[in-house]
Structure formats: C-alpha cells, structure tokens
Amino acid sequence: MEDRGTVTVLTPTDQPGPAPETPTHLSPPTAGAALADQLRAQLAPDRIITDLTRLRTYECDGITGYRVVPALVALPESTDEVALVVAACARAGVPYVARGAGTGLSGGALPVADGVVISLARMRRVLDVDLVNQRMTVEPGVTNSDITKAVAAHDLYFAPDPSSQTVCTIGGNIAENSGGAHCMKYGFTTNHVHAMTLVLPDASVVTVGGDGAEQVGPDLRGAVIGSEGTLAIATSVTVRLLRKPEAVRTLVADFASAEAAGEAVSGIIAAGIIPAAVEMLDALAIEACEAAVHAGYSLDTAAALVVELDGPTAECDEGFARVEEICLEAGATHLRFAADPDERMLIWKGRKAAFAAMGRISPDYFVQDGVIPRTRLGEVLARMQVMADDAGLRVANVFHAGDGNLHPLVLYDAAVPGESERGEHLSTAIAELCVEMGGSITGEHGVGTDKACSMPKMFSEDDLAVMKRLRAAFDPDGISNPGKIFPTPRLCGERPGPYRVHPLEAAGLIERM
C-alpha cells in the first residue's frame, strides 16, 4: 500500500542505504541563504531549517535509494504561511517540494537540490467534524488513522487505508491518491474527498470541490488528487466519512498453485460478489511473513488467499458462504476463518508485513508495484517465472488479487557482483510487462522519481505533452516538485538504489503491502 508523506523524526544515523549520490552542500548556496533569511523574518526562526544535520532528515522519503539534501526546510503552520513560503520560492525562482510523513515509495517527496522542502508536519489540526453529514475537515499533516480515530466512536471511518496509515498523512494521501487493501470495493482517496483548500504555485489560495456532491465546471479536485505534489499543496481537506459496515468476515484459503488461487478469485467475481479485499501471497512471501510475524499462515502451501467481505449482515453472510464454496470448488486445501476481530487483525498483520519481512529471506530486494487486468494473472506469473529464471533470481509475490495490483519482490544479494543490476533490470522489466498486458506501471506507489523513466512505456509523447499542459496551467515555471512523474534526460540517466527497509518500518511503526 502506498506509504506517503514525511518523516520529521529521522536523523542521519537512522538512515540506512547507500551514500548520497548527490553532493551535499556544506553550506546553503546563496539563493537558499537569502531565502532562509527572508523566511526567518516572516515565520518564526525555528521553523526554518538550514542546519545540514537536520536537513539530512529530509533527504529522502520511503524509497531511500534516492537522496538529495535541500537548501532549506520550512515548517509552516497555516494556509497563509504555506502561501508565504510558496510566494518567496516563486519570487526567487526556487523550486519546492511539499512533504507529509515521508513514507512514499516512489521518491515523490525527494527534495530538489538547492530547493525548499515545505513540511506540512505541523499542520495537524482537525478543523471541523460534521457527524450528521459524515465529513470532517482537517489540515494536511493529520494522519490517515487519526481521521478514523476521531470519529470511530460514532461508527464512522475514512475508507482509504494505506498500510502506512498510522503514520502517513492525508496530505500525502491526496498527493498519491492512496488506496489500500480495501480499494477494490471502496475506491481511492479521490473518491473520498469533498473539498480542498489549495495553495497554487503562484501562491494564490483557491478552494476546489465544496459541500455539494456536484460542482459546477471541471473537476479540479479530481485533477489535483494523485498529481504527486506537482500542481498544488492542499492545506485543508474535507473528507467523506463512511458508516462502518455492520458485518466483516475474513478467511484464508490455501491452494496448491497460484493459478488455482487465481481461479477462486475469478469465481468470486463471476458470482457477482465484490469483496472488500482479496489478497494473495505465494510460498516465498508466506515464508518471509511467518518468519517475521507468526500470523498462522500455512508454510506448506504454494499460495494463500485472504478474502474479506463486509456490508449488511445478511448480505455479507450469504456472500461469505458462497466464497467458501467457490474456494473449495477451485481446490482449496485448507480454509481458516477469522473467529474474532483479533484473529482478523493477526491475518492482516501477517499480510501487511510482507515487504519488511523479505529481509528474513534475502539480504536485498526491490519492491515492484505493477497492475494487470486480473484475468491475465496466470499468464503474467508464468512470464515472470521465466524472467526470474533467466536472471537467476528469486521473486516473491504478494498481490491485491482482486484488482490485479502486483507487488513482486525481486530478491538479490548486493554483495554478489552483478546481482543488483540484474535485480533492478528484472524489476523494471516486470513493471513494463504489466503495461504490455494492458495494465499500469503503478497501482498505488506513484510514479515520483522512481518510475518517471517508465512513463513513455505507458503513455505516448502526446499523452505526456497534454498532461504537461495541465501542469503548465497550474505551474508555468515548474517550481512545484519538479523532476517527478515526467521523464527527464537527467533523471533517466541515473539509477535507483535498492529497496531498503524504512527506519519507521523497522521500528514497527509502519507497514507496507
């Protein structure tokens, strides 16, 4: 699941991974120093960071292979202060990058050298809760989980549930259009936002969306959500809250092959059931998860499905009985039913531990995030196996099987000469295989820095040129998070580093799927 946002608690010693590829400045360059002086006069001085040690806290997001130290970090506390910082950047022609919790997995919050990072971490207020109309207005630094916590007592919740949800922020969710394990049924952030206050790159403040379910004119709210911080900074967000479902039912079904598990998923869809979630793990992924979490998955199975249904009790129970039948018809060798909420949470804990758990079975690995039409799963698995064999590497698989979102984990050992390069090449080839199959290079992690160079595999020059027209309308000077989404010769000459466990992940604060 996408992990988004920013981490303000990291120190350089917390940061694993390779040494920075970009030279770091021993002192901020002149433009940065002038900007820092100016901003210190306008914001409280302690909210402008230029100290190199502290700046390095912000040098990367959740994908630690890319690192750039910014010239300064600003910590605004209001819409007006964000606008003030953006205005200063615009006047000075200095690029800026907005940052939430720094948990993103595509380098979307990677700073620009000599640029400014605008951290929204101090904007954490809940501005309004409207229980009657089931909505809530928050500042961008509020975490995804805290939205739900604030209204849980009233049986309401915020549906998008990226697995980093205890740390990632709503601002980051907006940048990345975050989904979660339950997005097949409930959709993504874009389906759960009524309105936003935006600071545009010219420092003007606009409202998009509104109280009503319909707005007059183009859907700017929808255009901005998922634009990875390249169009605007959201400084307040009104989210839609849902009533908690009456019932939730979860099972784990083991299968002798991934193909058989895939058949079960097809059977569930064909029966007209829309599960809240369907997740698949292969043997290698189960091995790693069990080593890390001991969630009770079978170690002797080729593949396991986690199927969850929710909704009104009668509908949920009827569907669940049908899911059980379908799994057995598809050859399930073992079924495990979550007896209570604790067992359900344990099953999910095992599933969500997948990325971090890979360290148990491999010294290094790349995380991939491709999407395929779900019906082509068997074909893609076979092709991936051949590709992995050719590369002489192992690939562990965890999928959001319901919506075809694959997270193949390419395992390698950086200490073995040539394996990093083969692993990186294999990972990119898998993403591009997804496009060939009619899918996408990214289902939830975003394009960011990491996949910008694969965009031409998915979109034509004209497609990208028209998207750039939208960017030009918002940001004619290209100062808002430049270098992301769109391929540039400079970027595409560089190589990404390996996936590393994020410090917060290692500390058990966040999880990934």
Binding site: D211, G212, P218, A223, P245, E315, S440, L470
Partner: protein, 404 residues
C-alpha cells in the same frame, strides 16, 4: 442546422455538422478546421450553463459509437464516447453486469461521453458513486486535434494525471471526449423499491437516519408534491439480504413517522421513470440543480418554494436526499418572474455553501439573468487551463462565460 456536411467547411456560413466514426477522424476534423465548435452526443444536456451561440461546427458523436472491449472477468469495458448508456447496458446485461449509472437522461439517449462531460448522475450514485468514480480511463481530442489518453484499463492505477477528472463537468469547453473506459458492477440479484409520504423535513431526517445506519440503501430520493412529498428508497442485494434490509429500513423510518410500503416490480419501474422525468423537466421550465449538505434539504427546498411564491411560479423539488442534490423546476409565470426566482434561489443556495447550475431555461431568460453565478476562487486557474487546452477558445465558447 445543416446536417449534410461530412467535412468541416469553416468558410461556410452557419453551422456544419460532422459525424466522425473513429478517434482519428475526430482528430482530423478538429486539426483541419477553425472556428467555434460544439461537441454533441445525445443532445440531452446541451442547455446546461451558458449558451453556445451558433457554433461554426458541431462534432456529433452519434457515429463515434460502439463497445470496444468488455472484459467481464475484470469488470471493465471501453466504449467510443457516442455509445448511448442504454446500448452499453444492453450489452453488459448479457454478462450480468452494468455501468452503475442511472442518469435521468438515459432514456432520451444520453451517451457515455456526454455523461462524463456533464458529470450527470442518478439515484444510484448513493451506493455506486458518480461517473467520476466509475471512469478509469479516457481518450480526449483537443481543439487542435491532439489526441491524449490518461488512465487505462485497470481499476487501480496512479500513473500520470487524471484527465478524465479534468473533462468531468467541463461541458465540452476543454476537449472532445472520444473514448471512455469504465469499471463495472455486477447487476444486483434483486432490487426492491419502497415508497412513503414525507414532507421535506421528514425526508431530511429519513435521509440522515439511513446514512447513519448500516443499511447501505442504493438510493434515497424525494420529490415534492402538492400534499408535501414522497420518498423513494431502493435496496439492492440478494434475495435474502434485500428482505432483511427492507424490514430494517421500514422499521427505522416508521420511527420518524414515515410509513414505507414496497412497490411491485412494475410499479417500481414506473415510479423511477416518473422520477427521472421529474428531474429532466421540459423546455418551458427553468430547471436549476442545487447541491449542498444533505442536512440542508428542507432549507433548500424551502428556499425554492419561497423564491417561486414571490415570483408567482409553480415549483417542484426533486432530491437525491442522502446526497444533498436537488433539482428545482420552476414553471408558469413570466420570464421576469423566472429570472427573479432564479436569482433569489441562487443567492440563498450559495449562501448555504451549495453549488448551483442552471440546466434549462427558455431563451427569453437569457437577457434577464446570468447563466452562472459569481465566479469561484478557482476562476483564474480555470482560465489558464482553458488557455492551455484550447488556446484559440473554440470549444463551446460562452459555456462558462464569464468565468472562462
């Protein structure tokens, strides 16, 4: 309107109509012509917002139609934009699926592309979302003939900007919607509609109570009537679940003084047809769409009635109650009265934070009242987007005047 032209002839006075059959043809038509252009699908929503006076060219998507792909196992389909929703639903029904949209203009031939351009939706939006939530990919043709695609054929996809959202609600002012990819839903095994008398205050309470319950109704609609009004509540599900939900919601609303009864299938069909017709209205009416907070239903319905009374007009309010979307139809009286009522209602609705879109009005109203209310804070941004996508301003000039 000259219907015989097959190639754009901008030098010819009056309006030419072209009917491209492919995206490439549509691109050729636009790159090979100049002058103002109106994109037209089923022509069911052409009166929304500002008028486009005498376009030099009409690009009619009637022949840009057909289902391109339908992958039942992936629950996705792609269509050329001129495909009518009805034709699409017919084809999908064979696989037990549908595009979960039921806009009131469907029976009059609304097209999938037109629905994306207007953002229109119907009662089922409550459970399934609007077209903005169901479109997963789009191909557009810009005024200069540039063809661009965003999204794709998979439900989960965050690569690149979402151009489908940009054209959603743009009413043809930015680009031609040429192809659309949608996610599908299984047709419900069973649907049951319940009805009961309710005034605006009861309808508000009922809608809020249903939203706060775990019942997940598919639709909660209300229409005013001479003797207060009537609720329509639909539940989708399986044989057993629909019965269980029906019992629960009947009990819930009884506590609010609303007595619900289940309609037979034929009666439900006619009730929903009549409801859709009540949203569409007719040529001699002023039809205004107001969207606000669900809790403001009674207030907004009251404002509509006040505005009508002052101008001595008849008024009908039809609401997607749980969504806070209302269609207000004004009839009778004089054009001046309509203008006065529109101004008063719009002012009141905007004060409440609602959005207001003028959907229909007689030509006599045009000189008397602005089609759009005051510009939003994003008006400058909209102007810049318009300038990037349509630098010569040829797409639907006047549609969003004076905003952009």
């Amino acid at each position: 309107m000259t219907e015989s032209l097959t190639q754009p002839r901008p030098e010819t006075a009056g309006t030419g109509v072209v009917r491209p059959t492919t995206v490439a043809e549509a691109a050729q038509v636009l790159s090979g012509s100049t002058g103002s252009v109106l994109f037209r699908g089923g022509a069911t929503q052409l009166d929304w917002a500002g008028r486009v006076p005498d376009p030099d060219l009409v690009v009619d998507t009637t022949d840009l139609s057909g289902v391109l792909t339908h992958n039942p196992g992936d629950m996705t389909a792609s269509v050329r934009a001129g495909t009518t929703l009805i034709a699409l639903q017919d084809q999908l029904a064979g696989a037990g699926q549908w595009l979960a949209l039921d806009p009131p203009t469907a029976s009059a031939g609304a097209t999938v592309g037109g629905l994306l351009a207007t953002g229109d939706s119907g009662p089922s939006r409550l459970r399934y979302g609007g077209i903005r939530d169901l479109v997963i990919g789009v191909t557009i043709v810009l005024a200069d003939g540039t063809v661009a695609r965003s999204g794709g054929h998979v439900i989960k996809n965050v690569a690149g900007y979402d151009l489908a959202k940009l054209v959603h609600g743009s009413l043809g002012s930015l680009a031609l919607v040429a192809e659309v990819v949608v996610r599908l839903h299984p047709l419900p095994e069973r649907s049951v509609t319940f009805t009961g008398d309710a005034d605006a205050a009861q309808a508000t309470a009922a809608a809020l109570a249903l939203a706060a319950s775990p019942l997940e109704p598919a639709a909660v609609e209300w229409a005013s009537a001479a003797d207060a009004g009537r609720l329509l509540v639909r539940v989708d599900g399986t044989e057993a679940s629909v019965d269980a939900a029906g019992r629960s919601l009947t009990e819930l609303l009884a506590g609010l003084g609303v007595t619900l009864t289940a309609l037979s299938a034929p009666d439900a069909t006619s009730a929903w047809q009549a409801h859709a017709a009540a949203v569409v209205g007719s040529d001699d009416e002023t039809v205004v769409r107001v969207a606000g907070l669900p809790s403001d239903l009674a207030d907004l319905a009251g404002s509509a009635q006040d505005a009508a009374r002052v101008a001595d007009l008849r008024v009908v309010v039809v609401s997607s109650a749980a969504l806070g979307m209302h269609t207000v139809r004004l009839s009778g009286g004089s054009p001046t009265g309509h203008a006065q009522a529109l101004t008063q209602l719009r002012g009141r609705a905007l004060e409440r934070g609602a959005s207001v879109l003028l959907r229909r009005r007689s030509p006599e109203l045009d000189g008397l009242v602005e089609a759009l209310g005051p510009p939003p804070s994003s008006a400058d941004l909209l102007r810049r987007i318009k300038a990037e996508f349509d630098p010569t301003g040829r797409c639907a000039p006047g549609r969003f005047s004076p905003w952009f």
